[in-house]
Symmetry: C2
Subunit: 229 residues, 2 copies
DNA sequence: AAAAAACCGTTGCCGTGGCAACAAAGGATC
DNA sequence: GATCCTTTGTTGCCACGGCAACGGTTTTTT
């Protein structure tokens, strides 16, 4: 378990907790570590979990399964990713299916143990609770950001808004997005060909340069103007 | 404070807590009660709160203020409504402005007191924490539902989906929605005239009956079919 | 290395829905 | 009761973007 200390301290769930606190917490919470092979499901849509998972190695994807069977990508996570938190340990059923995209190791924490202050009265537990609330509200704001994007009135505004947020996230005006065209179109809720068309136009107008999934923003001020209308 | 017991027990934040537990909790948490007059702001966008508010009388609305100054209705709450919870007591700033739509009384709970198990070790505190997580994840799912709605490909699907969810919520096929046409159009992210047009068509086709903000669903099975495409 | 599959750009066609403008019907205020 | 303002329905116009189809390129499979 020691081996995960450095990683755990960088997760949102255990941020701001020192080594001693983390030690005591881990011995109290006694998470179980499980390994999954590529393609295996960690959580099925419709299940209720009662556990919070923390990815310590590998990567996972969360899909929403539409009634017609098509998979819609909701989220991707690498080491440090936290899932199952939004279910609140209640009997709520998961809206998503979580699948390993490569061999993955996950620590599972029982939800009721996260909520109950143990008899050892670990001082780090308060921080943990605050972090738990924080991980959930973070996801709330990610979703809120998505709503903002979907509310934009035309495709160019959506594209501009998305590109600017990616530039901000990566901290540079030249970046690669981890999506195929089709996935990006799905995220922006538009047709793939329409997205290609719009990107071509924007390139022709000198707003951006793009090849495959790499982008270079040439005129951020105009993009910012476009993204809010 | 006694006078609020019955109300508080029906809120999501204090659900499942008995009178004795509620008594001890309230004396520990020592919420402050504040009154606001109609139109007064309880929380400004951009502020960070550090408090959770529970409406005990009156009603409030949460607005998002667009860069061009227009107000977008995000949420409405009556007695029992909880707000400020999603900010997680952290330094996150509120994305919305909360305004009293009529004279309102609110109990404010300090966030850090909610998270810290007090030295009295109230047994109800664990339930409270679980409830807090639950109120936040509830809001997550409300937003998630909104995303589902916005992802639908055409207006008829959005309208059908919305009407069905309202019917489910009210438990009857004849109901009134608390929105003007313009507000409903805003929620569905479409033009007001387009919404009126679509409702007219649906009425002409015998799917619904509608007058102003009252609706009657005539063919729920067809509506259900429309709402998922 | 060949074959298959996935991915991407492009283009013609056309329908949904945005926009603007107007009329009618309450509701509120005086 | 007259006036003003808000809310709603309606309709013509047309642009944005969905759809389908095709070809070229890259990647994966065997």
């Amino acid at each position: 378990m020691q081996e995960y200390h450095a990683l755990l301290k960088r997760t949102t769930l255990f941020a701001g907790i020192d080594d001693a606190g983390l030690d005591r917490l881990l011995s109290c919470l006694a998470p179980s570590c499980r390994n999954f092979s590529k393609g295996e499901a960690l959580l099925h849509a419709g299940q209720s979990a009662g556990q919070v998972g923390v990815v310590v190695a590998g990567a996972i994807e969360a899909y929403r399964i539409a009634p017609d069977g098509t998979r819609i990508l909701v989220s991707r996570m690498g080491p440090g990713g936290v899932f199952g938190d939004v279910l609140g340990g209640s009997s709520l059923t998961s809206p998503v299916t979580v699948v390993a995209t490569e061999p993955v190791s996950v620590l599972f924490f029982a939800y009721h143990q996260l909520l109950v202050q143990c008899r050892n009265n670990c001082p780090a537990h308060t921080q943990l609770l605050q972090n738990l609330v924080r991980t959930i509200s973070d996801k709330y704001f990610v979703l809120s950001r998505r709503v903002d994007l979907l509310l934009l009135k035309n495709l160019r505004a959506k594209v501009s808004s998305f590109l600017l947020s990616e530039a901000k996230r990566t901290g540079t005006a030249t970046f690669t997005v981890p999506f195929t065209r089709a996935q990006l179109a799905e995220y922006l809720n538009c047709d793939r060909s329409a997205l290609s068309r719009e990107l071509s136009r924007m390139q022709a107008e000198g707003l951006i340069e793009t090849y495959k999934s790499s982008f270079k923003l040439l005129d951020s001020t105009t993009l910012a103007h476009l993204s809010s209308q």
